[in-house]
């Protein structure tokens, strides 16, 4: 579904991505992990077309993303730090997105209802707490039934109830054949979700394999311990 070939990106003098190549197929749940500043978010923003790579190609669902923008209707994105117009209300933001994308009739409002967002529709985005903002981001990511979901630190800031709701949702949607790319630092949480791990370090992919292979390689049974083992080896 997503194919990334030899992506490089420089911000000023800082080489953030040093030739990344990877392939992601449907019905997978991929954990994108790595230390802070290793280029995870930059890679995601490249796939979303928010950052333009210096070289290399990205194809989503078979189309080169540098030549189109329609592919983005197949992606739901939940940013690490949601940025929304401060003087708009939650209800207005959701209504506006639905209005702009009206051609897509069917919407998935499970998360909106599960997070009880309609009760908060009158609140301004600028006054929201970090957790509520995350709930809005998650609800928007799932809203248009995308085939690909990219979640950047989805559970950071969510309360236990909300993060459990989100995890349930991820598991159901994964079974519906959707592709998930999740970045997180809370490895214990990823354990029950992911089927594949991409480990990035300093702009390179060090490891890209199934979770079983990682566990077998390192002889550990928990993802967090396997990764710790892997990191100490490198």
């Amino acid at each position: 579904m997503i194919e990334v070939t030899n992506i490089t990106k420089k911000f000023g003098k800082l080489q953030v991505l040093k030739g990344i190549s990877a392939k992601c197929e449907a019905a997978q749940c991929i954990a994108l992990i790595g230390p802070n500043g290793c280029g995870k978010t930059t890679l995601i923003k490249n796939i979303l077309g928010m950052v333009v790579p210096d070289s290399g190609t990205i194809t989503v669902l078979g189309t080169d993303i540098s030549r189109g923008w329609k592919y983005r209707s197949a992606i739901g994105y939940m940013p690490q730090i949601g940025k929304y117009p401060e003087n708009m209300k939650i209800g207005q933001v959701i209504e506006m997105l639905m209005d702009i994308r009206r051609m897509e009739q069917k919407t998935d409002e499970d998360l909106i209802n599960a997070f009880a967002l309609p009760q908060l529709y009158h609140k301004r985005m600028g006054t929201l707490s970090g957790g509520t903002m995350q709930k809005v981001s998650a609800a928007i990511a799932f809203l248009f039934k995308p085939q690909i979901l990219i979640l950047d630190e989805p559970t950071a800031g969510l309360d236990p109830v909300a993060s459990e709701i989100l995890k349930e949702k991820i598991i159901t949607e994964k079974e519906n054949g959707k592709l998930f790319i999740i970045t997180s630092h809370i490895l214990s949480e990823l354990d029950e979700l992911v089927s594949r791990v991409i480990y990035m370090h300093d702009g390179n992919i060090l490891f890209n394999n199934t979770i079983e292979a990682l566990k077998a390689d390192t002889g550990e049974t928990k993802l967090s311990r396997a990764i710790a083992h892997f990191m100490s080896k490198n």
Binding site: F11, K45, L48, G49, M50, V51, V52, W69, K70, Y71, R72, S73, I75, Y77, P79, K83, Y84, P85, E86, N87, V93, M96, L97, D99, I100, R101
Partner: protein
């Protein structure tokens, strides 16, 4: 694209600054006409308003607006919307709001008080100047991420176009006083939309005699149909070229 323009326009109207700007323009225009018994003098006062206040408000408001809607732009970019239509929607939203403010504040009273070629020309130039300075603001804000720097650049641009440029021309004229510079001056005036606007309005006012020999040359050139067509084309270019350049930069911008 139409929907994005709608949301941007609603946002600008909610902002109330453009409404205040409209009322301010209207108050000045009305007081100028009710204070002066000679409408020619009133027109001269209005000319300065059009040449100083209108570009200043257009460029500063647009720059701050674009920086403040960075979140909105980011939200839209992750949606299946072309970058081009986002940027052009911002252009249409800002320029139509500021143009409308100018038309209500200056254009409409001019039409009521004094229907003449000068009024028409002043309204047309005010609209052009509003749009040109929106585009310059877009160019400045796409060049730098730093808000303070971006606003600084726009203030410098305004100072350059409304003050420095004339100073430079005077300096050149004095340095090369021995040479016949009247004709090249026509070309040089095209390099500044404010100068071009001023010349076109003044020529309609029949006080070009005060501008001496240069004024006569200007009248000779801008008074003709070709001259007029050329200056309108130049005004359009002042909108189009910076707009296309900023669009190109926006398409490759990292957010």
């Amino acid at each position: 694209m139409g929907k994005i323009i709608k949301y941007i326009l609603l946002d600008i109207i909610k902002n109330k600054i453009v409404i205040a700007y409209t009322i301010f323009l209207l108050a000045i225009t009305l007081s100028v006409f009710s204070l002066e018994d000679n409408s020619q003098k009133g027109m001269l006062t209005l000319l300065n308003l059009v040449l100083f206040i209108v570009p200043l408000v257009s460029i500063i408001f647009s720059t701050i607006y674009i920086y403040n809607s960075s979140e909105y732009i980011e939200l839209l970019i992750s949606q299946p919307i072309q970058r081009k239509s986002i940027w052009l929607s911002i252009f249409v939203g800002l320029s139509s709001a500021l143009t409308l403010a100018f038309l209500l504040g200056v254009g409409l009273p001019l039409l009521l008080f004094e229907q003449s070629a000068v009024s028409f020309m002043m309204t047309a130039m005010g609209v052009f100047i509003s749009i040109i300075f929106v585009v310059l603001a877009m160019l400045a804000s796409v060049t730098t991420r730093d808000k303070a720097k971006g606003i600084g650049i726009t203030i410098l641009l305004w100072i350059y176009f409304s003050l420095l440029f004339d100073g430079l021309i005077l300096f050149l004229l004095f340095q090369f006083a021995d040479y016949p510079l009247e004709k090249p001056m026509v070309g040089v005036s095209m390099l500044n939309p404010l100068d071009l606007g001023r010349i076109l309005i003044l020529l309609k006012m029949d006080i070009s005699a005060l501008m001496g020999y240069t004024g006569a040359i200007f009248k000779d050139f801008f008074g003709t149909k070709t001259g007029m067509a050329l200056s309108v084309t130049v005004m359009f270019l002042w909108v189009l070229l910076p707009l296309l350049y900023s669009l190109r930069k926006f398409k490759h911008k990292d957010l």
